[in-house]
């Protein structure tokens, strides 16, 4: 039996013969004495053999499951759908492959861990470490290195270099501020106020239903009805712009309610016999809002639950939106189709820095 002295940091000699006879006291243990507890497999050879069989059967089962996964791959058509309780209708091939291969891999890991825990040597070990503080001599050396570097670079001697470097360091963040300039300066043509105030809606522009692109007549829309709508010619505008900006700005919802239930709107006579047109784009951060409760006349935004009362000028009654939903004034043309009488009176969509600036 080797004698292990406190100064011996290596732990290759663990004293297997002394299992359980004394706490494994190897070297200097700064935390606490850990009493060694014997495992069943250390004392009972039967238990040890049982553990051995367990581990071996896990590895063997893993082989079986790998074979099963190969069989599943070959035999099960990948289009087969089966019903499995809890999971529902699922692809048979995917489930079979996932389960068999997953179990096979798991069994290898579980077997290895069981082996390590039950059969491999089980003793407490102390690993030595150096002190975290370096000694005085090294400290002095490092300080001398720094002093010599300072001296050799001439940072103290070349006054003009030192000052110009400090100046350069002070100025270099300026471009970052320039990059953020559009917080207060807007380049021409990029003013969000102009961009969001000009939509495809103009006087006389017909309202078409989204998806079908058919013009809407007032009699098409019953009380309680909802139509997600766009200006006529939206598809051509999208084609021309190669983007969906025009749609994003011009999207509206048309709703019809009993005219007696309209408590207020954003302009005198902006409805047509109880049909109201409001922007579909939330005034908070611009999500499309079309959750419309026809009995309460509430329009909900799905993103942050802002709620607008379309019977009351599109007022915000709940949620983070800060402004009323912009209303589009409408009427009918001589052929009886719903049209806009003008563009929105204010910028549509989410708020922006310049919004309330003149």
């Amino acid at each position: 039996m080797n004698k292990i002295t406190p100064s011996a940091g290596d732990n290759d000699e663990l004293g297997h013969d002394e299992h359980g006879l004394a706490p494994a006291k190897l070297g200097y243990s700064p935390v606490a004495e850990i009493p060694h507890r014997l495992r069943v497999t250390d004392t009972d050879p039967k238990a040890a053999r049982r553990a051995e069989r367990q581990v071996a059967s896990m590895f063997t089962l893993s082989m079986v499951f790998v074979m099963l996964s190969v069989v599943a791959y070959v035999m099960i058509d990948k289009a087969t759908i089966v019903y499995i309780p809890v999971l529902g209708e699922v692809g048979a091939s995917n489930v079979a492959l996932g389960l068999t291969f997953g179990i096979a891999v798991f069994l290898i890991g579980a077997g290895a861990i069981q082996w390590a825990k039950k059969l491999m040597p089980d003793v407490e070990v102390v690993q030595q470490r150096h002190d975290m503080v370096s000694d005085k001599e090294e400290d002095n050396l490092a300080a001398a290195d720094y002093e010599r570097g300072k001296e050799e670079s001439g940072f103290a001697r070349y006054k003009i270099i030192r000052r110009s470097l400090l100046g350069a360091m002070a100025l270099f963040p300026i471009p970052i501020i320039v990059v953020l300039r559009d917080l207060w300066i807007t380049p021409p043509g990029e003013n969000p106020r102009e961009l969001l105030s000009n939509t495809l809606w103009t006087k006389g522009k017909r309202i078409v239903s989204d998806g079908t692109y058919l013009p809407v007549r007032p009699e098409d829309l019953p009380v309680g009805g909802l139509v997600s709508a766009l200006p006529e010619g939206i598809l051509e505008a999208q084609e021309e712009d190669h983007n969906l900006n025009a749609r994003g700005k011009a999207a509206i919802v048309l709703v019809r309610m009993d005219p007696d239930q309209i408590r207020s709107q954003q302009g005198e006579g902006w409805d047509y016999n109880g049909i109201l047109a409001y922007s579909k784009i939330c005034t908070h951060v611009g999500c499309p809002t079309a959750l419309y409760e026809q009995r309460t006349h509430h329009l909900l935004c799905p993103c942050h639950q802002s709620t607008f009362d379309l019977a009351d000028s599109g007022a915000v009654i709940f949620g983070p939106a800060a402004r009323n939903m912009p209303q589009l004034p409408i009427t009918v043309d001589e052929e009886g189709y719903l049209i806009a009488t003008q563009d929105f009176a204010e910028p549509v969509g989410p708020s922006f820095w310049e919004r309330d600036r003149a």
Binding site: G211, G225, S228, L291, E293, Q294
Partner: protein, 261 residues
Amino acid sequence: MKFLSARRRNPFVAVLLLVAALGAVGVTFSAVSNIQPAQASLGTQTQVEDGKKLYLEGCSSCHALTAQGTMNGPTLLGVGAAAVSFQVSTGRMPLAAPGAQATVKEPIYDVDEVAAMSAYIASLAPGPAIPTSEDLDYSSADVAQGGILFRINCAQCHQAAGQGGALTQGKLAPNLMESTPQEIYEAMVTGPQSMPVFSNDTLPIKDKQAVTAYNLNLQEAPSPGGLSIGRLGPVVEGLFAWIAVFAALIAAAVWIGVKAR
């Protein structure tokens, strides 16, 4: 009789009885499912009278003897046969208790009784009719166009995969995974509860069939990847991975770390 009693314990009898019972169920079902739409759209005089009796018994306490509505229930004049059919056949009406909105439950009235009540309400004032089997035939509908229309008009409340969602103050848009073509059609033309009306003028019957076809397509869509987890999308899938799978991983790590006994 003697012949029957002598052989009733023969093992083939059970099989024969089963076949006979299945056949009877099949014949009855096909008879009922063929006749029902035609019957409902006609609304015979006897149906109207039967419907009136049922109405006075079961509905008039809230909707008034004249169907003009009371403090407790809206007027039924002009709601049409489709609204009655939808509300009663899905068990929403009669209400079990006042609440945020009528909930789906086991229907109280059978198919004939619903048809009679629908005919009675339709006889009081014109309104959306129960769809004919021709209206509901989505076999030649454009599923892709239905998907576009579903996402424009339905998905904001019923969720992109038809799983339903919450509205305000306890109201909700129901899950559409059990909805029949007739229920989908009737809900669109009548706008039950909070739902807006999608009339046949703003959403023509052809487009309604497309929406129906898309919705049934969603209902039948399997989950080839395994668990659908409510088909609520990547957020739920991520949550599932982080909560359930991570918990399993932590449990495994704890097991690895525990000292063997």
